[in-house]
Amino acid sequence: MNQILFGVAAIALGVVGPLLFFHFGYRALGLLPDRLQGKTVPFFFVGPAVLLVALGLVLPTLITIVRSFFRGGGSLDFESFVGLELYRGLFADPAIRDVLFNNAIWILVVPTGAVLVGLVVAALANDLKPRWEKVAKSIVFLPMAISFVGAATIWRFVYAFRPEGEGQIGLLNAVVVAFGGSPQAWLTVSNCRLNTLLLTAIMIWLQAGFATVLLSAAMKGVPAEVIEASKVDGASRWQTFIHVTFPAIRPAVVVVTTTIIILVMKVFDIVFAMTGGNFNTDVIVNRFYQELFVFRAYGRASALTVLLVIAVIPIIVLNIRSFRAQHADR
């Protein structure tokens, strides 16, 4: 009971507090000389948010970067300073190279898969009556409402394995057995990284809806006259799509792709819940978790994180540029 009251009080305070803060603070600014008011008001409103982001995001990032230059259990003393050695160690470690390779697979496969599904569904749904279009898109979008761990639990039952001869409870194995094959413990099969690919399927399932909705909106933004014109010129549906529609929605495709890439670089829950990083499915963030909590190697964990941040920066730049380009056209 105490917890409910505490929760309600926290919400009330969290909502009403800032309201009061800004209301009375703004009025209090009236006391300032006229000259200063104009300059101060913007800072007053933006200040708290910037401060919180600086404390909660920027400062830890800087600390992590600093930590990545010290080896060991976290004490930042002179003896522990090793400069770039941890980074060198990471690149030299074959296990880490495997991990980076896995992340590369994720980054290549998931955005491609999600965007493909999104394009197909958006293009086909476009031709449906509005009501069915909404239904189709909603169904594809539903998985986005599921948490990663929830998705992992669902897909665990798709990939579940029981020895040959016993009833299969996993969907995939049931299909395989129905066609006369023998069941596999799919998540343990790392030939050609099959298990990683199976895990990426989960992420594609989760993100396809996002891609569909954004690409569908972009497609509707293509002027109908242009489509008509290309039909009049004798182009087939496919040609219209490739040469007219797709170039027109390219900024949106880039935004969707880069957003998904950023998300995929952070993948942890799926790998953690399904395989724990075993069987060659390890990814950077799971590795980071191991280094930090099991191995207590702060320096190495920090270095891994910094690598991830560096890898993400170009994608983010691309993302923002495309986003601006997309909106500049409007």
């Binding site: 009375f24 703004y26 009025r27 009236g30 008001v41 909590f293």
Partner: protein
């Protein structure tokens, strides 16, 4: 908002407007002070260090005359008053084990008027995470006391010499168990609460005898038995090594078992303390023996793929199917909590158990086992009392009746065990030629609870071969030092 109060809204400020501004400033300042005050309070109200009543520590207070370690009475009147205090406990138990331990905690909490907050770790390094994030529990139960070394060095775990009557505890404990609760400099930071001998092989007694099988006395006999069972059309062994974030530990148990019996206790100790490399010939040999059994075609139910995907608690189910899908399962005493309910109801009739056979006659009669230890992470008086209680033989009573529990104290009344099987195992432990604690729980956690576990999983799955696995564990361990 009344826009006329500021310059931004245009026009000079009226005296009334200035008046409003001043009031607003006053209100704003008060709000800020309140916010600062409230956030200060929030930090402390969440911890379990609630306003403590002046509580005398350890021996100073009035207390039962006999040291608490040997007393048979429940909490006497002279005990510290803990009414209304809260204790947070983290433990690694799940399933019936969890039920048993909860029963122990609840019985104690009700008697002392303490409020309990408990959480199961579910195979994750939850204690490390909690300590890392500045939110440690009050008491943590662990099966790997080696993890406590770094907590001790970091000042997170507290010495128990003033809280627990160490002398009387050590005199009633089975030999070798007390030292494991000590850190490198000899300070006691953990007390054993449950011991789980692991050198046991379980089998479905009725079906086993009906099929005409006999309990093996040596490794060779056990392998021959396996072949016999296989010829009769069933896979002899059920083995499952999956365990969430801790997957692989049952395989490490197998390796330790064989290592102890083939290389002997001294080499075992050297291995655990990294005085010999992890890929030393003795280790390779022990691993290959395990492979002879576990990777042999038709010897394990479901084969290697099944081993890595079957959880350790599901694995023994095969023993109790009709007809059995396997006849042998090597596991610690706590596995009985995972047997089907009807089997547990009459354990002695449904189940048989034999000691893991000797391999090298020079190293005969040895028992390998694990144990659960309680450690203290805060100076919360209720937490101290809980650890003190868990160090006594009486604490296990509630759990013993339910089954799946074996006491580390020689003074424990064995009549409390629910069946003869548990009693026999306890007797075997007491009579053993030597006892060794589970190696992976003694090794430094990065290896014992990290590289060793995942290495075994990779090897059993076939992702890595034996040499690669052992060498990479060795290089990981060397890199730590």
């Amino acid at each position: 908002m009344n826009m006329r109060t500021t310059k931004l809204s245009g026009g000079p400020m009226t005296p009334k407007a200035k008046h409003h501004s001043a009031i607003s400033l006053g209100v704003w300042v008060v709000l800020m002070l309140l916010l600062a005050a409230c956030s200060g309070e929030e930090d402390t109200s969440d911890t379990s260090e609630t306003a403590p009543t002046p509580v005398p520590q350890g021996e100073g207070a009035s207390e039962p005359p006999a040291g608490s370690g040997a007393s048979d009475e429940p909490a006497a009147e002279g005990d510290v008053d803990l009414e209304g205090q809260t204790v947070e406990v983290i433990y690694p138990f799940a399933g019936d084990d969890e039920v048993g331990f909860q029963a122990v905690l609840t019985a104690w909490a009700e008697e002392r008027g303490v409020e309990l907050v408990t959480e199961s770790t579910e195979g994750q390094p939850l204690v490390e995470i909690r300590v890392e994030s500045g939110n440690p529990p009050d008491v943590a139960i662990t099966a790997s006391p080696s993890r406590l070394q770094r907590f001790y060095e970091g000042g997170d775990v507290l010495p128990l010499s003033d809280i627990v009557d160490l002398e009387s505890m050590e005199s009633s404990l089975i030999g070798g168990l007390a030292e494991i609760g000590q850190v490198d400099d000899g300070t006691v930071v953990a007390v054993p609460f449950r011991v789980s001998p692991k050198s046991l092989v379980w089998y479905p007694e009725p079906e086993f005898s009906d099929a005409g099988y006999e309990v093996p006395q040596t490794w060779d006999e056990m392998m021959a038995l396996g072949e016999q069972i296989r010829e009769d059309g069933t896979s002899p062994w059920c083995i499952g090594i999956e365990s969430g974030g801790a997957s692989g530990w049952p395989a490490t148990d197998w390796l330790e078992e064989i290592m102890l019996r083939t290389a002997g206790p001294e080499v075992y100790d050297q291995w655990v303390n990294h005085e010999i490399p992890f890929d030393a010939p003795e280790v390779v040999n022990a691993a290959e023996m395990f492979a002879d059994l576990a990777f042999e075609e038709g010897f394990v139910r479901g084969g290697r793929q099944s081993m890595v995907t079957t959880s350790f608690s599901d694995a023994p189910q095969g023993l109790f199917n009709d007809p059995p899908d396997c006849y042998l399962h090597r596991q610690a005493t706590f596995i009985t909590s995972s047997f089907p309910e009807d089997v547990q109801a009459d354990l002695s009739s449904n189940v048989g158990v034999f000691p893991f056979p000797d391999i090298d006659p020079e190293f005969a009669g040895l028992v390998m086992g694990g144990g659960d230890y309680a450690a203290l992470f805060s100076d919360n008086p209720a937490a101290e009392e809980l650890v003190k209680y868990l160090a006594t033989p009486e604490a296990g009573r509630v759990w013993a009746e339910q089954g799946g529990y074996l006491s580390p104290h020689t003074s424990f009344d064995t009549a409390l065990y629910p069946d003869d099987i548990t009693r026999d195992i306890g007797q075997q432990l007491a009579d053993a030629e030597g006892f060794r604690f589970d190696g992976s729980d003694l090794m430094t956690p990065e290896i014992g609870a990290g590289a060793f576990w995942s290495g075994m999983t990779s090897w059993v799955n076939g992702t890595d071969d034996l040499q690669t696995t052992l060498s990479s564990i060795e290089s990981d361990w060397a890199a730590l030092e």
